[in-house]
């Protein structure tokens, strides 16, 4: 499974069931040796400080959060883990380019 890459887009708020689905999916992918790239956008940026998502970062999920989304939804970037990349849509475009599987939870 080496070199396989899974891209995940999450745009839903923390209360949405997709948030937990993404956690489970990412953990399962990591267990199989898949590189996981997570992009948080729109209300998904609110999960950037969620303990479950910090756990994913600890486990190796490469996480990026939409800087514009943080501004729109009042998420302080000061509170975001330094391992999270504050990004724009060019990074999402790159994830779509470079991952052989891509799932959007919108």
């Amino acid at each position: 499974m080496a070199d396989h890459r899974l891209g995940i887009l999450l745009s839903t708020p923390p209360s949405h069931p997709s948030v937990e689905t993404v956690v489970q999916l990412a953990e399962a992918a990591l267990r199989r040796g898949v590189d996981v790239y997570l992009y948080l956008i729109d209300e998904g940026v609110k999960t950037a400080t969620d303990p479950r998502y910090l756990g994913l970062i600890d486990a190796g999920v490469k996480t990026s959060v939409c800087a514009y989304g943080c501004q729109q939804h009042g998420v302080s970037t000061v509170m975001i883990d330094s391992r999270v990349s504050l990004s724009g849509l060019v990074v999402l475009s790159g994830i779509i380019d470079g991952c052989d599987r891509f799932l959007a939870f919108t």
């Binding site: 990349s85 724009g88 779509i96 380019d97 470079g98 991952c99 919108t106």
Partner: protein, 132 residues
């Protein structure tokens, strides 16, 4: 170390067998007068157009009002108005269902009509799909 040093973008996109433009469909079916998500979906679509991707936007339900002149009830309409000119300039393709009422303002966009079966086949043919 800068946050972006954690996982440089080139690590992803310079994979020789993967880094190529994709055909992407952004499907918007939520009501723009109820939620801000359709306008955000258009922003995302525009961002993906700016790369090498072939991006097509499919507007279902009430979403075609995003391209109409009477937009005052749309949530985040002031944001929408900033992005719409770029969709015209880039001739981003839009697909709507047959019978969708469009106004003359919409003529400036690249809008095509496609029956539901055609849209289903189209979605099966694309590399990536984002559904809002």
């Amino acid at each position: 170390m800068a946050a972006t040093d954690f996982w440089p973008l080139h690590d992803i996109v310079h994979s020789a067998d993967l880094a190529m433009s994709k055909h992407i469909a952004v499907v918007i079916s939520e009501d723009p007068c109820v939620t801000a998500r359709p306008v955000e979906a258009l922003r995302i679509a525009l961002g993906l157009c700016a790369g090498d991707h072939e991006t097509t936007v499919i507007l279902l339900g009430r979403a075609p009002i995003l391209l109409m002149n009477d937009t005052e009830d749309i949530v985040d309409v002031e944001i929408l108005e900033k992005y719409l000119p770029s969709f015209k300039h880039l001739s981003v393709p839009f697909i709507v269902e047959p019978g969708t009422a469009m106004d003359t303002w919409s003529d400036d966009f690249s809008v095509a009509s496609m029956p539901a079966d055609g849209i289903r086949q189209f979605l099966r043919s694309v590399d990536r799909s984002l559904v809002f």
